[in-house]
Subunit: 202 residues, 2 copies
């Protein structure tokens, strides 16, 4: 790309490293993976944590059904294969976001242990699995999107918790029992854990 | 997620908007889409622009073959269908990055006008198409990865410029003739254009 042509010199571009981006942002690029039943509070908690971090000057981004299912993964359905591919792509994208230095929060049911562990294998110690735990009855009573009602009526098949399995995390970094603590308490616990893990400085 | 159960109150989470992230970062979330033949200088230029912007305190991220083909798109080959799906997914990911407020630079041959225009349709006025233009002979002489040699030997099929077409952009925001200007000149032109478009303030 220089004016002299026909040399054998390979020109190496400057590259910005993840560490340099993290220094700029004064934070680590990490993935907070929220998993749990529909209605267990994943999305609400992820967004509240992001909001609180943003107030502290941190760059956050939430990946959820709203911005993934209608875009990147709109070609995928809900068969076991498609669910696995869904989580695989989300994991790869979350890994890119973390590499960019962004505190990345994902809010997907992600019912299979193997799929979640794939993301952990990409991120290693930059991965926090947060299990939003609530009894099925509570989630079904909340039913924020009316999905349990449809599942019970047979209008939705293979709905997690009804006629499809949910595999709880075995060693999550945090368990949040969303029917037993306030959202403020939950948010504070997540952020405290992030501080302990050194995620909130570059 | 609050302590009171069994109410009909839908609790709306705070959400951080793109505008709020852009204010935090003092930049716009945009996509700089570099397109051109293999060896035309896409990746080199993208990385140099990112480096210069990083020195000015801007958050950038480069999407290229290195971080996409081995991860998100490792299931895709080089048939026309797979090439289209490759660029579709990259476009969706670039759109998410721009939504996060990141100055996103993509460096892919992206030979088809239709595929590039899909990304433009997602990003609208947050999309800068940059055509790194160099004669095939120059690119082939540079041959930084030895790919032209392999394509000429028939070891790689459907190689853009040899036995697969490249459709030049019709109205790119910038054309950079990488055999006619220094990389410093090219970088400055890209950044000047970004300033004109208001991308470098939140």
């Amino acid at each position: 790309m220089r004016k002299q042509k026909a040399t054998n010199i390979t020109w190496h571009a400057h590259k910005v490293s993840r560490e340099e981006r993290e220094k700029l942002l004064d934070q680590k690029g990490v993935v907070l993976w929220f998993t749990g039943l529909s209605g267990s509070g994943k999305s609400t908690l992820a967004n509240e944590v992001a909001y609180k971090l943003h107030e502290r000057g941190k760059l956050t981004y939430v990946l959820d059904g709203d911005n993934i299912r209608h875009g990147l993964n709109k070609d995928l359905g809900f068969t076991p294969e498609d669910r696995a591919e869904n989580i695989r792509r989300i994991s790869e994208v979350a890994n890119l976001f973390a590499d960019a230095g962004v505190i990345t929060l994902t809010a997907f049911i992600s019912p299979y242990r193997r799929d979640r562990n794939f993301c952990r294998s990409l991120l290693k110690d930059r991965f926090m699995e947060i299990y939003t735990k609530a009894p099925l009855e509570v989630c079904e009573e909340r039913d924020p999107k009316g999905l349990y009602k449809k599942a019970r009526a047979g209008e939705i098949k293979e709905f997690t918790g009804i006629d499809a399995p949910y595999e709880p995390p075995e060693n999550p970094e945090l368990i949040i029992e969303t029917d037993k603590e306030t959202i403020e308490e939950s948010v504070n616990r997540v952020i405290k854990k992030m501080e302990e893990l050194g995620y909130l400085h570059g």
